[in-house]
């Protein structure tokens, strides 16, 4: 378990760094790590990642706030939409074939990424 504990801390360190640097993406490290190294089931890994990323995000957002990098009014509007969207997403998630959506979103994300790099 000690070896595992060290691995978990190292993964946490990588997740914290990315999450602070890019304001997102901690989950993209934590979820696969929990699945492939700790052998958690997919849905449990997704769920467990959230309370791991939350405190790290709070730390990062404090640093961002102290440096005036969070426009609060805009954030509140996005938050209202985000809360409604995540409620609906969670409700209908099981009724959509995620397999095909992944391909579509993967393509959209790749296209978006290239636009950001080449702009």
């Amino acid at each position: 378990m000690n070896n595992n504990k060290f691995k978990l801390m190292a993964i946490g360190a990588a997740a914290g760094l990315l999450n602070g640097l890019f304001g997102s993406g901690g989950g993209t490290i934590v979820v696969p790590a929990l699945v492939f190294i700790m052998k958690l089931k997919d849905y449990k890994a997704h769920a467990t990642a959230i309370p791991i990323i939350l405190p790290l995000s709070i730390i990062s957002v404090i640093i961002y706030l102290l440096n005036n990098k969070v426009p609060i009014k805009i954030a509140l509007m996005v938050m209202v939409g985000g809360l409604m969207g995540s409620y609906i997403g969670a409700k209908f998630l099981n009724k959509i074939p995620v397999k095909y959506l992944r391909k579509i979103f993967g393509s959209v994300i790749i296209y978006t990424a290239l636009r950001m790099i080449l702009r």
Partner: protein, 117 residues
């Protein structure tokens, strides 16, 4: 209204287990006047209430493997501080380019990931 819609769509997508930030941050950069770092700050703060709701739901359903949470959080505290300071110090164009490279890796991973039946 545009901002609420952007939040709404990324909220739906985050419910599918694909990070909402991968949609929210580029949308804000492309469709509003916000800078890369501001879009990142918004994503971080918007995530907080949404994830609290999600944690409560998962707690009730018993989906959380609690023993993994503490070591990962402890490992991440210092690096979260370092990452945030780096984001603030890095030049705006560079930060967007690095984010784009990170996003590209996520996109390729999502595209080729095998779905368990």
């Amino acid at each position: 209204m545009k901002l609420i819609l952007i939040g709404f769509l990324s909220g739906i997508i985050s419910g599918m287990g694909i990070g909402g930030g991968t949609v929210l941050i580029p949308s804000l950069v492309f469709f509003s006047e916000l800078s890369q770092i501001e879009a990142q700050g918004i994503n971080l703060i918007v995530f907080i209430p949404i994830s609290i709701v999600a944690i409560i739901t998962h707690l009730k359903q018993g989906n959380l493997e609690r023993k993994y949470i503490k070591p990962m959080v402890l490992g991440g505290i210092i690096s979260a501080l370092i990452g945030s300071f780096l984001a603030i110090k890095i030049n705006e164009d560079r930060l967007r380019t690095y984010f784009g490279i990170f996003l590209l890796a996520i996109g390729i991973y999502e595209f080729f990931k095998k779905e368990k039946e």
